[in-house]
């Protein structure tokens, strides 16, 4: 709308355009600037114009850059906060000149806005941890929280707005966040985002058959592609869905939903009247009204009024496909309505649906699974010799087994290959494999035999040239025996890292470290009263009385009659074995290092003896074992440098490093010996060291350690930790940390729990 109250505003605009032309700006760039200026509200626009006018005299390129920052600031700040920020910026430009102004504006993406924010606003990052724990509690799923302008979810991440300021009371804003998060969980739990197209009612316009699946998108995205007016359909769906979510959440979280009632009434009073909208918009808005109060404000279009009962009946829906049914009906009913559909602001706690994000996420998951499978198949196809290996003298022969009719196999190069369980379940999930090599057992000529993947991918059994290093046996579960002297392990010096990583972590976690040290010092200094000792500070009355009675009864009395307080009762040696394989690159590596720093602090306070080693390597001839801190070494700068130098290397062959750690622990004198391994998933090395083979060898190495009186405990950082873990590590001897940022805090707690 042209601004008539400010006669010079158009003039300013023209001047800016003129200056930009003089600086040889393209038309498109000029239009972008005009659009950006026009996007601000009237009051702000005037000020922005004046500022841009001043800037355009200096350099027109400043105009577009500054505008971008102003837009960002306007999104993050409330209007009155924005005004203060903008006035400050203009003041700086006027009084201090252009350079300080640029500095000031450049700080927007970082923390430059914070001084201008009202304290009662609740920022998402203050409560992210709380909300994630909340979501995990109510759902049992590990959902992360992300930031976006509107609440929605892609089924893995729940996106919430960065700031809430609806209420002046932070506690109420938190309630809103909780409400949003709960609704997003509702979508996931009810499966409304997973509606399956195949079950959609046939009257849908241009329903595509399942055969199109390969090419087109699936699930909810495919559903919405059927609607010419997609935005309208998406909004209808999220509205209709709200009815089902409402009753679901009422059942699951009645307290929360009763609080939502008050909000609904409040929101209802803010919604536009239906008469003020076009018929089509009123149709959607009317559903909002039904949702909020059961009735519409103003007269609902007849098409909607007729559907009211059907829509309200969705409250009792249990199957998301019922929503799809009503969606088609509602969409059809609204077809003939006049006017364009202009989306109204959605009820903020309901959020929106982004079908493309959901589909993309699901697609990504599927692709990941597919890639793994493809990898296996490609490997198979490229294998030069496809004959299973011949009988060996030192182990059982690979026997070809007859094909079972009800199972599926891969047919490659004329051979029938059976799949292991993991791949099989993945194929079922995917509904097929690339290349059409999957066959049913019943389709194969009867009498055919199959071989297993393992037989084909197994490493050659020839002994290789023997290198130096320490030799370790490796467990071959198929053979049920050790491969003697199979792995060569080398102790390697780690290059100290350049940056002062340890100091940085200590600075960042200063407060936490202080609390941590205190907590560990408590364990250390708790005086432990030892009863019935042969010598000590004090007589054990119980023992003395008993000895006296024994004596009177003619028995030889017990000699241990003293009580002794012992402060150094802990006699624990712990070795941390850190996974330095390539897969730890990035976050995991940093978190491992951070965890080590905290752990060192805690252990220094506690006084337990500890050592830290890292491992990686490639193939059995080169298992590398990195010394970071040995038992005798004090925690000095050299150790800190090596912690900083921990970097991702190659593969994860876990057996040999565990055996080596066990032999190090074996020569340490301690009552309790602990081996804590920190890894990020399955053991895997170049060659055959993967799948069951790696798992079984690791398991065996851990059992050996246990037999030597060492308590192994494994910490795994693995989002998709499989069922193999409890087998590999033993039921109570491991823990999965699914979120890497929690590792540093968790590891110290785990250690504390393990040793008190």
């Amino acid at each position: 709308m042209p601004d008539t109250s400010q006669p010079n505003s158009e003039h300013l605009m023209e001047e800016i355009i003129k200056n930009m032309r003089l600086d040889f700006f393209e038309n498109e760039e000029i239009i972008a600037v005009i659009d950006a200026i026009d996007s601000f509200d009237r009051h702000l626009r005037q000020k922005v114009l004046a500022l841009c006018f001043a800037l355009s005299h200096a350099s027109s390129s400043l105009v577009s850059n500054t505008l971008k920052r102003i837009s960002t600031a306007a999104q993050k700040l409330e209007p009155e906060e924005m005004e203060r920020w903008f006035d400050d910026a203009a003041d700086i430009l006027e009084s201090q000149g252009i350079d300080p102004f640029i500095d000031f504006v450049a700080k927007v993406p970082e923390d430059g806005l914070e001084p201008f924010m009202e304290p009662e606003r609740l920022r998402l990052r203050e409560v992210t941890g709380l909300l994630e724990t909340y979501l995990m509690g109510i759902s049992g799923l590990d959902l992360t929280i992300g930031t976006d302008s509107e609440p929605y979810t892609d089924t893995d991440t729940v996106y919430l707005p960065p700031v809430l300021s609806r209420s002046r009371v932070p506690q109420e804003n938190l309630l809103l966040y909780v409400l949003m998060a709960a609704h997003k969980w509702g979508q996931i739990a009810c499966g409304t985002l997973m509606v399956d197209l195949h079950e959609a009612p046939p009257e849908g316009p241009g329903t595509s058959g399942p055969e199109d699946d390969e090419a087109g998108p699936r699930g909810i995205e495919a559903l919405f592609r059927q609607f010419p007016e997609r935005a309208f359909a998406v909004d209808l769906f999220s509205l209709l869905e709200a009815f089902m979510l409402d009753s679901f959440l009422r059942k699951e979280l009645p307290g929360l939903m009763s609080k939502a009632e008050g909000l609904k009434a409040e929101i209802f009073s803010e919604r536009p009247r239906l008469e003020d909208l076009s018929e089509k918009s009123a149709f959607a808005e009317g559903i909002y009204h039904y949702y909020l109060s059961g009735n519409s404000k103003g007269t609902a279009p007849e098409a909607l009024a007729k559907m009211r009962d059907k829509i309200l009946s969705l409250r009792g829906a249990t199957d998301p496909n019922e929503i799809v049914g009503v969606l088609f009906a509602a969409y059809d009913a609204a077809k003939e309505l006049k006017g364009d559909y202009k989306p109204q602001r959605p009820v903020f706690f309901l959020g929106t649906i982004k079908p493309e994000r959901v589909s993309r996420r699901l697609e990504a998951k599927r692709e990941e699974a597919m890639k793994k499978l493809e990898g296996v198949i490609t490997k198979l196809m490229n294998m030069p010799d496809f004959e299973p290996r011949r009988h060996r003298s030192d182990g059982p022969a690979v026997r070809a087994k007859p094909v079972r009719k009800d199972e599926e196999y891969l047919a490659i190069k004329g051979k029938i290959v059976a799949l292991d369980e993991e791949i099989n379940s993945r194929i079922k999930e995917l509904g097929g494999v690339p290349g059409g090599v999957l066959v049913k057992g019943s389709d194969v000529e009867s009498g055919s035999t199959y071989v297993t993947l393992k037989d084909l991918t197994d490493e050659e059994d020839e002994p290789q040239a023997k290198g130096a290093g320490v030799k370790y046996d490796e467990w071959d579960y198929k053979r049920g025996d050790y491969k003697r002297q199979w792995c060569s392990l080398f102790e390697v010096e780690i290059q100290p890292g350049e940056e002062p990583f340890v100091e940085l972590v200590r600075k960042r976690h200063g407060g936490y470290i202080a609390a941590l040290r205190k907590r560990f010092e408590i364990i250390r200094t708790v005086p432990k009263m030892l009863r019935r000792q042969k010598d000590g500070d004090c007589i054990d009355i119980d023992a003395a009385v008993e000895a006296f009675s024994d004596m009177r009864a003619g028995l030889s009395p017990e000699e241990a009659l003293f009580v002794r307080t012992d402060r150094q009762e802990r006699n624990i040696a712990v070795l941390f074995l850190i996974d330095m394989s390539g897969s730890t690159k990035g976050w995991i590596n940093d978190a491992e290092k951070e965890a080590l720093v905290l752990m060192c602090e805690a252990l220094e306070a506690l006084g337990d003896r500890y050592a830290i080693y890292g491992f990686s390597g490639m193939s059995r001839t080169r298992c590398e074992y990195y010394k970071i801190k040995s038992f005798d070494e004090p925690y000095l700068d050299s150790v800190k440098g090596r912690i900083a130098g921990i970097a991702p290397k190659d593969y994860t062959r876990m057996g040999a490093p565990i055996r080596h750690s066990a032999s190090i622990l074996n020569i340490v004198e301690a009552k309790t010996k602990l081996l804590i391994t920190l890894s990020d998933g399955k053991p895997e090395d170049w060659g055959a060291y993967k799948g069951d083979y790696g798992i079984e060898d690791t398991r065996k190495a851990l059992i050996e350690a246990r037999e030597r009186g060492i308590h192994p405990f494994c910490i795994t950082i693995d989002k998709e930790a499989g069922s193999y873990l409890s087998h590999m590590y033993g039921e109570t001897n491991y823990i999965v940390i699914d979120e890497i940022r929690k590792l540093p805090n968790r590891i110290t707690e785990i250690y504390r729990r393990l040793t008190i």
Partner: protein, 270 residues
């Protein structure tokens, strides 16, 4: 004021304790008892192990002798000792000896807390020999046919210093206890606290959600016992939210952030 104290071996559970069966544990216990196989009750705290023992001892009309194990528990504490009385020494049987003599159920609660050298005295009692050596008297005591040894432990504590030795555990039949399912748990809470079904249902739902958080920072979820505590408070007129906070959240953790998250969940449920 008379007859307040009774001897431990005379403790009989007279009224039928309330116990809802979760998974055929009654029949399994009975089979173990008939075959004189000692029983190991495994499970998280507050899921009904002790109540189950009370029930079974009522059912078979055997005295129930419970010993809560701790790290100062000595063999004499279990088996017995000489005491001096009026210038003479008198032998006093320990709880396990009494149970062996009268043929009671001897229930060693939280067995892993006991010192390792104490735990081994039950070994000869827990296999086919069924004898209790009383070293100080130079005697062997044959267990009465009705005697049954039951121990309990909670595998959830991961401390490496507290584990049950294989030589001990491999003498027992293991009954695994978990929290009862939603419906059963609601029923139990309703019965124990006399609150209405919807409130009991909400408590169970909250309990369930705390159990979801076990991998995220809680060392254990809310036990049925805690839920009952909260329910009793509610029944005496305490606001449900406050009841949950004092009876459940506060007892589960000291972590401030976790308490906040739990209280958000409480607010959402009640």
């Amino acid at each position: 004021m008379e007859k307040k104290t009774i001897k431990i071996e005379e403790y009989l559970v007279e009224e039928e304790p309330y116990y809802l069966e979760v998974d055929k544990e009654k029949a399994l216990f009975e089979a173990a008892y008939r075959n004189r196989i000692p029983v190991l009750l495994k499970g998280p705290t507050g899921c009904g192990k002790t109540r189950f023992m009370e029930y079974m001892s009522w059912r078979f009309k055997r005295p129930l002798i419970t010993v809560s194990c701790h790290d100062d528990l000595t063999v004499s504490d279990l088996v017995g000792r000489y005491l001096v009385q009026g210038g003479e020494t008198v032998w006093v049987d320990g709880p396990i000896t009494r149970a062996v003599k009268v043929g009671g159920f001897c229930y060693l609660d939280e067995i892993v807390e006991a010192r390792k050298d104490t735990t081994v005295v039950i070994h000869p009692l827990a296999d086919h020999r069924r004898i209790l050596p009383i070293e100080k008297r130079g005697e062997m005591l044959h267990a009465a046919p009705e005697f049954l040894l039951v121990i309990s432990y909670n595998p959830g504590y991961q401390s490496v210093l507290k584990d049950l030795k294989q030589s001990t555990r491999q003498r027992f039949l293991a009954l695994e206890f978990t929290y009862p399912g939603r419906e059963l748990e609601t029923e139990i809470i309703k019965h124990e606290s006399e609150i209405d079904a919807p409130t009991a249902g909400r408590l169970v739902s909250f309990g369930d959600k705390t159990r979801n958080l076990v991998s995220a920072g809680l060392s254990e979820g809310a036990s049925t016992r805690l839920l009952i505590h909260a329910a009793k408070l509610i029944h005496s007129g305490v606001d449900p939210k406050i009841a949950c906070e004092v009876a459940i959240s506060g007892t589960l953790t000291d972590d401030h952030e976790m308490i906040r998250a739990l209280s958000e969940i409480i607010q959402s449920i009640f």
